[in-house]
Point group: C2
Chain length 402, copies 2
């Protein structure tokens, strides 16, 4: 039985209105999934996140494997109990972080953020320093078996295989997990991207095999649910190359995964991404939900939904908030500017978020300029509400469309 | 008409159960007042503070005068509106911060915290660096007219007189404000302390004079209230010297203030403080509320209440929280320890705070060790609840006592 139920399909585009079913409740799609890298949305309690209306959140396997360790999370009863979030949780496979520490530094680009500003900024994305690692050193060694890499925290050596990624994600206990993939960079050429993709496909089969032997997921909120287990997404790679993307879509789409993730390099400009989505989508089985990994700036959303994407995760809204950039229709509002200090208006008069209902631009400017924690907290609440509201409107529009 | 109503007096001690009336509601005393130095409790929204049950909070005049500036706060409708807190607000006079930047650095003690760990740590108390100011330079110049001092933010020169302190506090618009005083250090000798105290008394008269010409305070929550104006506390000084403390108590107690603050050096060990309180209290008018400035570690509270103190403000509970120290009965619990990572228990099983009801020691240890903002936030919620609960119990005990 599938985890995804399509409620309605658009006639004009590939957009779908649906629900993803998990042991911890449903996710209404299209959906934005806030990222709580280290089992916490930076600055918000789970109750504040519920007030925003998020159905689910995503944690990073790589980070939690290193700290506090997946075994500890398992002993504490799994991620839901550990972080006190009783709604659906996603974990990624760790592949992207392993990649971003390796290839990106190796090519001297530092962070992938230099290539795609605001998105896919990798393992160092949550304010963590690169202090432990000399820049030019080769950090990852990829073999058929898996990936050897160094911790960004203390430089210690680790090895993750497809089987181990599944094991870690089983220990963490998220509802929706991803197969281990190599996330190639836009700097990789056709030959490397092809070789890597083929290996990712072999890894996908190994992940599925490891996944079959798993126990049921941590129990849900008590209500009986058709999906009393973790669901596994495969990940499409193939970079910016049409034949590879199409091959990967066919292979991953037709293996026994519950859903399909779209990963890897998505081109150098935004239009490349939509081109890639257009290659992939017609080849994917309709009944499987599609997740676009690490993408989710407001300007990407609507077009990607129309291209057939169901869910998105991205650190941009939360990271922008901490840096004092509030999301507003058509762009960003700089919360730090001195001229805001005499502005009684909220960030956006039409916004219904906690921050806009209660606080002025003046107060927010003061908080950011004075280095008060409450600045990033209130900006995060605004930006996540902005994203949730954006998707709420997209869902309503799809529901009403003919 | 007085702002203070005594509901009950203890027969055995000088403790009083009462309420302080303001235009923004009442404060049940004895009370702990959380400190929101820069018009924000670090890490908490006002709704989280209300959930904790705090009746009021205190902001620092010195900090808000420098940033964002009292004129801006006034333009934004006053502190209540600015920070979205509709309950009573206190502001101190700025005198302590001016002192702590001056005398303390001048004597090479850096922060007063070196003398009284955890308390009265002065202008640099909220994590702000001394970067702008060379250490040995004389930072304050005290004259009969007022105090010239340098900003800890940018080193710029400023001058505050008693009249200016009242004007700044009027602009900020708190319900309960303090007369401008010189806060002497434990390192000052008898002669200096006496000279300074006499000047503080002359300043007290000037503050009262300036205060008389004020307009009514910002309007309250709509309910008619006997105190439709700001209330002004005088501040007792006199250091550790019995005759000076007694003289100051008589002078300040009998001027036309609404309440009495107890400031300045309180000795080198805790027992000195209770000795000082015992000198002062019999000389103070019963009907005026008494505030102990900058003191409020849990271990001080009960004895100070029995000595006749009605209200306390202190940064210790919130600062300890940010440093990973949770308040528990009889001491502190170190939230950062690695061994907590496998501890499913809350900080305190008997505690009813949001943090203890929802999160384990394991999760808190993870958050602090991973540098997540949510660690300090949850610890702050716990420590402020701990303080509020401590006072709730003290009030209940007083209510039941014969």
């Amino acid at each position: 039985m599938g985890i995804f139920q399509i409620i309605k399909k658009s006639n004009r585009t590939r957009a779908r209105l649906g629900i993803i079913k998990t042991a911890h409740g449903v996710i209404h799609t299209p959906a934005f999934i806030p990222v709580g890298t280290q089992a916490a949305i930076k600055g918000l309690t789970v109750d504040q996140l519920k007030e925003i209306g998020s159905d689910s959140l995503l944690c990073n396997t790589y980070h939690l494997y290193l700290r506090p360790g997946d075994e500890i999370v398992k002993k504490m009863g799994g991620l839901h109990k550990f972080m006190n979030w009783d709604r659906p949780i996603w974990t990624d496979s760790g592949g992207f972080q392993v990649f971003s520490l390796g290839a990106a530094l190796e090519h001297g680009v530092g962070k992938v953020a230099n290539i795609f500003p605001g998105e896919k900024t990798g393992v160092l994305r949550e304010g963590e320093a690169e202090h432990a690692i000399p820049k030019k050193e080769k950090l990852t060694k990829i073999s058929e078996e898996g990936v050897e890499f160094r911790s960004h925290i203390d430089g210690s050596s680790h090895f993750i295989s497809p089987e181990k990624s599944i094991q870690i994600q089983e220990n963490l206990g998220a509802d929706l997990i991803f197969a281990f993939d190599e996330c190639t960079s836009p700097l990789h050429d056709y030959e490397y991207t092809k070789r890597s993709m083929k290996r990712t496909h072999r890894w996908a089969v190994r992940c599925l095999e490891a996944f079959k032997h798993k126990k049921p997921a941590h129990s849900g909120r008590g209500s009986p649910n058709p999906i009393g287990r973790q669901a596994l997404y495969g990940v499409i790679q193939g970079g910016v190359f049409e034949d590879l993307r199409k091959e990967s879509a066919k292979v991953i789409g037709n293996l026994g995964f519950d859903g399909v993730g779209i990963g890897g390099a998505m081109g150098k400009i935004k239009s490349d991404m939509y081109k890639i989505l257009d290659w992939i989508m017609p080849l994917l089985p309709e009944e499987k939900p599609r997740h676009l990994l690490g993408i989710g700036s407001p300007e990407d959303i609507e077009k990607a939904v129309m291209a057939g994407v169901d869910t998105f995760d991205c650190v941009a809204p939360t990271r922008l908030a901490r840096n004092g950039a509030a999301l507003v229709e058509g762009g960003r509002f700089n919360l730090k500017l001195a001229k805001n200090l005499e502005d009684k208006n909220p960030i956006d008069k039409k916004c219904g978020c906690y921050t806009c209902k209660n606080y002025s631009r003046s107060y927010l400017a003061h908080l950011f300029r004075a280095g008060e924690m409450l600045g990033p907290i209130l900006a995060t609440a605004h930006n996540l509400w902005f994203m949730e509201n954006l998707f709420r409107k997209i869902r309503e529009k799809l529901a009403k469309s003919k």
